[in-house]
């Protein structure tokens, strides 16, 4: 190069010159062929460097980083704490079913693409198959040429019984039994009465609560049924819920779906005990249970532990009512729970325990381990606490350990109740219903797993 100016044309091309230097280059260039050639060469080279190959991260990269951190105790602790805060914030803003639904969606998102695709396929295909095959009975030709219907073997073994012959379920008896109801303190009984009256007074004209919310209506219906109330408010709520069921049997997200399904099942259990007509309600329940089964993940869960626990409760109820196909999902759920990695968190431990007890699982060591985690984590603060109390009370009631902290929870909930009978700040129908369900636990749920 003949030009002696020794200009930094790289800095010029990169726009890294101060304005006065850049201006000097601009003025020099038209008169200098050497610098023009050099400029072209620099631009070409930098363009070439910029066009060298790049790579996209492999699909699993982010998950791999998280897995690598999984061995880091600090990360595990932080992840647990973050999950707890996340959960509390979501619950505070949207209700706990939103948390359960979110967890399920997160899980779907973080799953490898083929897993998510397979899950969508299975849910869609399963629902379609169920719709097409629910009334199908295989036929065989008899020697004389006529067809005769063949009854399929019952998948649930001895659970296979027509619902009409089901004996009174234990909870139906206990919810109306004076002896069982005497297990709650007079203060708690009074709080339950006031709370239910407050809720009934707020029922919408259409029969719903929460201005047409499936989860809120389902949980309030559960609180009413939990107290053995099957009056007009309960009937209107159940009728409204049935109108919200989709053709594939689903109600809302997995968590809300499970709550509504349990409410349908409990309502039917009462109706059977009364020898009332259950045909329409049974159809809705069978459809809801079938949807729940198609929505079960291949690992045996329903996403978040709370959603799993409530779906397990629904299938358990179906099995108790003698309906087809409810035992297999319970076994799959139990296999999942045996391996599930649950952190030291009140919600997760209680949900695990509730799910496990509902599957009929009775491994004392596992039950004891999770039960021991619940009590130290109970904190009588926070708006979302009532849903924790409900979960925790269900879990310890089912495992026969209500004495551990049942009285403590009852005292706190009675103290937290507002003078109008509600709970929550701001007042919430769903939180109030959850508080009632926690208070009703002693007579609402029979002990399933007796742990010494």
């Amino acid at each position: 190069m003949a030009c002696t100016r020794n200009l930094d044309l790289v800095a010029y091309v990169k726009g890294e010159m101060v304005p006065s230097e850049a201006e000097a280059v601009r003025l020099h260039l038209p008169a200098c062929v050497d610098c023009q050639e050099e400029l072209g060469s620099v631009e070409e080279l930098l363009g070439g460097i910029g066009s060298l190959p790049s790579v996209a991260p492999s699909e699993e990269f982010a998950a791999r980083v998280t897995r690598a951190l999984g061995a880091d105790a600090g990360y595990v602790k932080l992840a647990r704490e973050t999950r707890r805060k996340d959960r509390e914030q979501t619950i505070r803003q949207h209700g706990w079913w939103a948390w359960a639904g979110k967890s399920m969606k997160d899980r779907m998102r973080s799953a490898p693409g083929w897993v998510a695709a397979a899950a969508v396929y299975l849910i869609t295909f399963g629902a379609l198959a169920w719709v097409l095959l629910k009334d199908y009975k295989p036929s065989t030709a008899t020697p004389n040429g006529t067809n005769t219907s063949v009854t399929r073997p019952a998948p649930d073994g001895d659970l296979e019984k027509p619902p009409s012959t089901v004996a009174k379920l234990p909870f139906v008896e206990s919810r109306t039994s004076a002896t069982a109801r005497a297990q709650v303190t007079p203060e708690a009984a009074k709080a339950i009465g006031r709370g239910l009256a407050w809720l009934v007074a707020r029922q919408g004209k259409d029969g719903s609560w929460g201005a047409g919310s499936v989860p809120t209506t389902a949980i309030v219906a559960l609180a009413l049924l939990g107290d053995g109330q099957r009056g007009d408010a309960t009937k209107r709520a159940m009728a409204w819920l049935r109108t919200k069921q989709r053709k594939d049997g689903a109600f809302d997200d997995f968590y809300a779906h499970a709550l509504a399904t349990v409410a349908l099942g409990e309502d039917i259990a009462f109706a059977l005990a009364d020898r009332a007509d259950t045909a329409e309600a049974l159809k809705a329940l069978e459809s809801a249970l079938a949807f729940s089964r198609t929505a079960q993940f291949s690992d045996g869960s329903w996403g978040a532990l709370e959603a799993t626990a409530r779906n397990v409760q629904a299938q358990r109820l179906g099995a108790q009512l003698g309906l087809h196909g409810c035992q297999v999902p319970l076994e799959r759920a139990q296999a999942y729970l045996d391996k599930a990695n649950v952190g030291d968190d009140l919600g997760d431990d209680a949900a695990w325990l509730l799910a496990y007890a509902s599957t009929g699982g009775a491994a004392a060591e596992q039950v004891e381990r999770h039960r021991a985690h619940i009590q130290p984590n109970l904190r009588p603060s926070g708006r979302s606490a009532t849903s924790y109390w409900w979960l925790a009370m269900d879990a310890i009631q089912l495992t026969g350990r209500r004495a551990d902290f049942g009285g403590f929870v009852s005292t706190i909930l009675c103290a937290q109740q507002a003078s109008d009978g509600s709970w929550g700040a701001p007042v919430s129908e769903a939180d109030s219903a959850a508080a009632l369900l926690a208070l009703e636990a002693p007579y609402r749920l029979p002990v399933t797993v007796q742990v010494k």
């Binding site: 930094d8 790289v10 800095a11 990169k14 890294e16 060469s41 620099v42 070409e44 080279l45 930098l46 363009g47 070439g48 460097i49 910029g50 066009s51 060298l52 190959p53 790049s54 790579v55 996209a56 991260p57 492999s58 990269f61 982010a62 791999r64 980083v65 998280t66 690598a68 951190l69 880091d72 600090g74 990360y75 932080l78 992840a79 704490e81 973050t82 805060k85 996340d86």
Partner: protein
């Protein structure tokens, strides 16, 4: 929802929110992997190194002070890791082969090199040119190569390159100038 910037995410992580960390990984995985890819031309090794950088970021989050941009903090860790690896036995940059490049699914060639619909002959020439350029960059002294990668591939301003490498901006300028001069010389000698 308003997207939080990197500094806010780091401070959130410092306060104990691992979701913030996951967000940072998703946001920066591609440029970070490519930082190492431009130094090694080995995808797997690049992902391994990027993973290590993210682990170091997590472990040093409690020391993080928002004095510098997050990317400066991140690339400083990445550059230190690269230096460590160079120093360790057997971690010298790999020589690039044509076969290895051919395996790369995500390659891109700019229109300036490849044209819109290149003929087979043009493709071959472009490919040869890319390989020649890669090899030329590999022959640069390490400090010049690092400046080229940060300023050209990662698109950093000289000031940020200076902060990452902890050198004056003037030094970045002179290294960049020297690197381009050397590359032009190598590419001219090839042709």
């Amino acid at each position: 929802m308003v997207e939080r910037n990197d500094t806010e995410l780091m401070l959130d992580l410092k306060r104990g929110n691992v979701n913030a960390f996951n967000e940072l990984v998703l946001r920066h995985q591609q440029p970070l992997i490519n930082f190492f890819y431009r130094l090694t031309w080995d995808r797997q090794a690049s992902e391994d190194s990027a993973q290590e950088v993210f682990l170091r970021i997590f472990r040093h989050a409690h020391d993080y002070e928002p004095r510098a941009k997050f990317t400066t903090f991140m690339y400083r860790i990445a550059r230190n890791l690269w230096i460590d690896r160079l120093r360790s036995a057997g971690a010298a940059p790999k020589t690039v082969s044509l076969d290895q490049s051919a395996e790369d699914d995500d390659r891109k060639m700019s229109a300036s090199l490849a044209g819109d619909e290149p003929s087979a002959q043009e493709n071959l020439e472009n490919r040869e040119m890319i390989e020649a350029l890669k090899k030329a960059i590999e022959r640069l002294p390490e400090e010049q190569r690092m400046v080229i990668v940060l300023a050209e591939h990662q698109g950093m301003r000289y000031q940020e390159v200076a902060e990452v490498l902890d050198i004056p901006v003037g030094t970045v300028k002179s290294r960049m100038h020297a690197a381009v001069a050397k590359l032009r010389e190598l590419m001219t000698a090839r042709s």
